[in-house]
Subunit: 477 residues, 4 copies
Amino acid sequence: MSHALLIQSATLITPAETYTADVLVQGEHIAAIGQMLTPPPGCAILDGRGKLLLPGGVDVHVHLDLPMFGTVSSDDHYTGSKAAAFGGTTTLIDFISQDLDPLLANLEAWQVKASACAVDYSAHMNITRLTPQVLQDLPRLAEVGIPSIKVFTAYNNRLRLSDGDILRVLRVARQHGILTLLHAENGDVIELLVAEALAAGHTEPIWHARTRPAWGAVEASLRGAALSAQADNAPLYIVHMNAAGEADMLRYARQAGLPIFGETCPHYLLCDESLLARPDGAKWVCSPPLRSVADQQRLWRGLQQGDLQVVATDHCPFFYDGRQPIQYEGSPVAIPGKELGRNDFTKIPNGLPGVGDRLPVLWTAGVGSGKLTPNQFVALTSTNPARLFGLYPRKGALLPGSDADMVLWNPQHTLTYGAAIAQHRTDYNLYEGMPLTGWPEKVFLRGQCIVDNGNWLGQRGGGQFLPRQRFERPQGL
Amino acid sequence: MSHALLIQSATLITPAETYTADVLVQGEHIAAIGQMLTPPPGCAILDGRGKLLLPGGVDVHVHLDLPMFGTVSSDDHYTGSKAAAFGGTTTLIDFISQDLDPLLANLEAWQVKASACAVDYSAHMNITRLTPQVLQDLPRLAEVGIPSIKVFTAYNNRLRLSDGDILRVLRVARQHGILTLLHAENGDVIELLVAEALAAGHTEPIWHARTRPAWGAVEASLRGAALSAQADNAPLYIVHMNAAGEADMLRYARQAGLPIFGETCPHYLLCDESLLARPDGAKWVCSPPLRSVADQQRLWRGLQQGDLQVVATDHCPFFYDGRQPIQYEGSPVAIPGKELGRNDFTKIPNGLPGVGDRLPVLWTAGVGSGKLTPNQFVALTSTNPARLFGLYPRKGALLPGSDADMVLWNPQHTLTYGAAIAQHRTDYNLYEGMPLTGWPEKVFLRGQCIVDNGNWLGQRGGGQFLPRQRFERPQGL
Amino acid sequence: MSHALLIQSATLITPAETYTADVLVQGEHIAAIGQMLTPPPGCAILDGRGKLLLPGGVDVHVHLDLPMFGTVSSDDHYTGSKAAAFGGTTTLIDFISQDLDPLLANLEAWQVKASACAVDYSAHMNITRLTPQVLQDLPRLAEVGIPSIKVFTAYNNRLRLSDGDILRVLRVARQHGILTLLHAENGDVIELLVAEALAAGHTEPIWHARTRPAWGAVEASLRGAALSAQADNAPLYIVHMNAAGEADMLRYARQAGLPIFGETCPHYLLCDESLLARPDGAKWVCSPPLRSVADQQRLWRGLQQGDLQVVATDHCPFFYDGRQPIQYEGSPVAIPGKELGRNDFTKIPNGLPGVGDRLPVLWTAGVGSGKLTPNQFVALTSTNPARLFGLYPRKGALLPGSDADMVLWNPQHTLTYGAAIAQHRTDYNLYEGMPLTGWPEKVFLRGQCIVDNGNWLGQRGGGQFLPRQRFERPQGL
Amino acid sequence: MSHALLIQSATLITPAETYTADVLVQGEHIAAIGQMLTPPPGCAILDGRGKLLLPGGVDVHVHLDLPMFGTVSSDDHYTGSKAAAFGGTTTLIDFISQDLDPLLANLEAWQVKASACAVDYSAHMNITRLTPQVLQDLPRLAEVGIPSIKVFTAYNNRLRLSDGDILRVLRVARQHGILTLLHAENGDVIELLVAEALAAGHTEPIWHARTRPAWGAVEASLRGAALSAQADNAPLYIVHMNAAGEADMLRYARQAGLPIFGETCPHYLLCDESLLARPDGAKWVCSPPLRSVADQQRLWRGLQQGDLQVVATDHCPFFYDGRQPIQYEGSPVAIPGKELGRNDFTKIPNGLPGVGDRLPVLWTAGVGSGKLTPNQFVALTSTNPARLFGLYPRKGALLPGSDADMVLWNPQHTLTYGAAIAQHRTDYNLYEGMPLTGWPEKVFLRGQCIVDNGNWLGQRGGGQFLPRQRFERPQGL
């Protein structure tokens, strides 16, 4: 007989509604939502009065255990997913590198590592070398529940596909219900600017931003839209949008009827490029780089007006100083990190921690400031990504039959945030010292409480692999 | 012990979600929504498979038993509410004329007649004469559950208030949580054009349209917005929007941050002014008049993009030929109607039937054509009006605790629509011969089935007066 | 034998071109523009090197000798036109009040006073009472060279026409090539707010602004556009635009294809309402009132982008303290002015000096700042108004055959501006202490130099009445 | 003693003005414009009454004697410039291929051929291979009067530069006052689509259009804008704009303040891609290809609203059937042409005749239809290109001191146009049978009449090489 839980009188937040009800969980699913529901025999009861109940966060952009520049992103599938859970996120989508042939072999290799996840998980497949065989293998991805791939217009000679190859990929993807993610920057220009900067002896972190100009992201976004159109309206999802002009182009393409979607990340909303000029600027080196305050404002407006649909994290943490161990689950850990680029900005591992920060930080900065409604917050962080990536209504919803992934959110809880509270396996936090109001007190994964007021009740391998459905354009997105 | 009903496996449609679940009704309310809910003892069970379940329609703009031009609108509170129910609408908001002093006396008089309603009901108070006493009495309306009033910029010397008086009304309304409805046309211009038309011997129905030009509605809409702004952002709801430029101005005012909302009606979406040039043109005489096909397109776009929030009906039927009786509930009925204006378009009673047509006709024309999603349909016809007029989540929602006002909608049901099917007490229908796909098979009012596959199970007086909450701007509207 | 003048090697500024050439004037007209023109015998020669040559300014909005509030605007036709000339303006259009019957009698009365003008002049006819006879007399205005009239939506019971009457006026005006000017504010609202302010004991100048809100100007502008449309696209010219939203509405109406034009004035571009809160706030009382800095920015943008076509002045000066005489042409002059409203803002005469300030102040603030090109400056202050008001190419152009109204402008001349330099017959200047770069050194009226480096060479009555051509929409405006 | 000519009472058309005057030409220049000018002794006199006088056309985009696909464009510098003159164009800018090293050697080689021109001429330098030496030589171009270069994002492995190389070129160009022209299409995508089409056996001309999709032009235009921005706002001129979205992007970039300009050609305004599906579709094969009617409409709107600044021709004619000789100046001529691609659309020489059609065809289609004013016509075809390319006011103007390049235009002259009238050295015309109203009756080059009512008075080598000024952004463009 299955486990039962009755959450009484919490206020449910969905993309469209805010209402108070009882939620009955039976086993792994939400069984009923009602008024004064009768608990079945043996049912646990939780008083939700004064608390909000949100669907568990869905972060569709994380990089766990990612090798880079001779080191590796400092959160592996277990530690990263645990940090996610602490921040109210119960579903992750990671990325699989295209290292092996055939294509599906990469998935198998990834599964081994990913099975350590403490929350539910899936992955996108990077397509960074295109051969006829790869094109032929693409449809298999959708069959095995991985209906999303990622391509790059940057990183010449490493990750970039030519525009023609992206077009070829998009066509096959469209035919098989696969959503293509795009990293939109101009590889040629970056390569030139980087070479010039190094030649001129510019080694500081700020040159990371100066060599990856915003206009390159803007035109590459429209280039993606053009390729989508030329592939008979292949669906396209532009990751980590960072520049005002990208939002303009997304809007332009969407108004032209193209099935194009956009994601941004908390750091593009809250941090700006001036941080890279600080002595510890390496802490903020990510790609694409942070932009200006004006860019931030346009991105916020894009979220408010529906130009962008998703807030994810691009979580890819590195130690600021990987020579100094930190304590993690009782043991010292040190992983080479940003210090690798002390003397050369091109050697600073690119990436920022964020998977656990996303919900608390965005709540305070977005909902607390009045920029977003709680309902928009849920849509952007849970429902929309679940819908776009074939997980809805299993994830992203508080509906009967949905997985009982839920966050009991205390909107009154105040705290000062930072690395000591965040559970990322790294030695710094982007939002160190930020006062927060609103906090995920309890986090449920398929009916099980895995985080309870700061106590970890989850476990390595507690997550499940989520085979996802093929892409269909969600109504209203 | 209260009545219980379990609707199993219907597909619920809400503004944001489409999902299949069981709905348990206990007494007058929705008690629970869940998966395979257990029916309590004695519970009736209804198989909802293949059907949609919608919240009952909310029509916030009807004129029942309205005296005009020496006759009266041909649906009284009973017949009009019965027709509404047949069309899936379970809440009506009527209008109270300002005939008596003090202001509240009009409410009492209206209550006597309105108590015949077969569905739940409320009313807006017309403010057509402004005295200091009336201004002083306004707050009382909110106290007694009537937090909405209507003003006119047209009908000089009859209904119109001066711009200054509208401003005075808006200020008081804002302070007391009262939403002001605006009939936006230019009374001066209409008066001039009508006098000129009559002087020139133009008596045909088409002159009704020609003497009420669209530009007058456009500027009066912006004038309303200006008055709202000058009244410290008093909320304003523009009724029966009919012209493209009105939608433009609504968008402009909303982008300026003003709390302004817009309603259109099915006849402005589906009928155009060329109909008034037909020999039976009087059938389509309403105010404001029908407009052009380009106006229709802009209004549809306004619904799609969120410029407009509500589709109501302005239901105000008259017989086309009130000398020829029809059968109604077994007896012959004839009420003087459009024929009064045979020789003078200014004597044609203004108004159209529509309260029962709204959901079926809009479903086919909007959802069937792909212009609207089912979710948008529900938002426009039920949830948004309930939210704007202080009825949510009691009405307009399929949530635990909400009134069990529900429509079991058969999306496959096809029929040829017209007066023989519609239940309006009049002798014609605007949509005669229109093929429909989608139909309200069962209609529930607070848990009771009042329409069952074309059979009337409701009763005169079966509706309840709904005291409404004061206006607060709903999130996202 | 006629007077001849050769200006050698000045740089001519026209709306489209900047070029250096010789200009030969014979008699009152420009005879030729060329390279190294041969001076005819006896020809005067002027070295224009390093100087700009502009067509003389055309100010289409001045009020000279205007009775108001028991006093009169302090510049009469001679003093005002002299001040205009000092500022580089050689054509004025004044207003004729509708005091007498029949309509044309007012023109005759005005001619007597206006003949004192020292520069060329015309007038618009105010239409502030509409009778059948007035409508019938309107076409006569065009016949006698006065093809422009002005109507008001403000000043209830004084100047305002009802919307219906404005419509009637517009129709006749359109048919006879008469351009209608509109003062766009909402009289009802102003009347209410003024009465309330006085009742509350608010007597300070700032209440002048507070009782004439910008939104009223915005909606009245669109109302004007609607009436223009309803009058079969009657041409409309909105005077003294002051609010951002007015520019928006002008743009909207123009994009809808309506023949609508807009004017603003330097004080709306350079002064804001905070000035009215100063102890000497009465100095800045004009109608419509000064607005916010954001409004200023939108107006500048409107000039840059072509939303607005004209910069005029609404020159209507009053003494700040009419009890203290100033010296004017060697004699003391004192005319009751702003002090009349010391204790009651509604008694402050409405109006500002400006006719002489327009070119020098706009040059520094517009051209000097890079907001406008010299060519746009000429278009806005001379060519466009001449074209709209039936004076082109006689006025507003540097073309062979045009009247030789020219300003020799020294773009290097710097000075500190103020009442001591301006020639208005009043005791203050809006731009006191403003540093200017660029100055009209010589001003020519029909070939005669009337201002020469600050010396007055003109004369009372030296101006001519200009019969104007009927309105035709100028290409490109 | 120099030649003199007095044109009396023609109506001059300039970008801003339309006025009637006498024009005195002395030697090669306009000496004076005036009223009733006195002719110097021995001066020729021409009666211009009823005729328009336009500045001679400036066509900044022609390809004369261009080798392609084993043949050559069928107009050489003499025949092409003669055809230009017949169509009212007196200045041409050709292109120099980058065949030789060093860069300037190409100019010398071109000068030999170009000296045959019968009208004045210059050239842009193509940059299609970038070496450090080429970058170093670029500034020399401006020094020798060739301040404009052209780069391509299409034609992989032939003409295309990488985005990084374009950026490098733009930077140097900006620093030296060189304007960069951009051919904006996506080479990668075209290469892929062409290969696929051929592999699928698609050989017909319509596949030329299908393999060069409009979206590629759209994104490449924005890419160009991005590179311009990244090169510190290097000026950029996008040639032969053909797609609606290109105009949108041009507008976007210009509103962002970038110094970007756009050109379209008559064939993109008047012909659409359906022509390529005709049996003689090869006649309309050009690159970029013809687009849709909706694209045409947007381009017209772009000309009207100032998004685009220039109408040039991309004149590059080929015989439709180069096996059938035509008579040219009394001798048979046949040059291999479109028939080369009978069995393979990739072998059809790309290019269309047009240099002579431009003014007459655009006048009828643009001015005659009311889409453009005569003033806009002059701006687009003569003044704007002269200003952008460093030729103003020597060319593109009717001003004293300007070259006396003038067209006496008869706006009443009607004719049926086609190859028999056009003077291109080819066997067909795009506008065969088109009725025209308006015709260049006399064409003057530096004061000499070179075309007189269809008679050729010009001569091989009669044109002069025009050293051009460095780029400065013209005010208002």
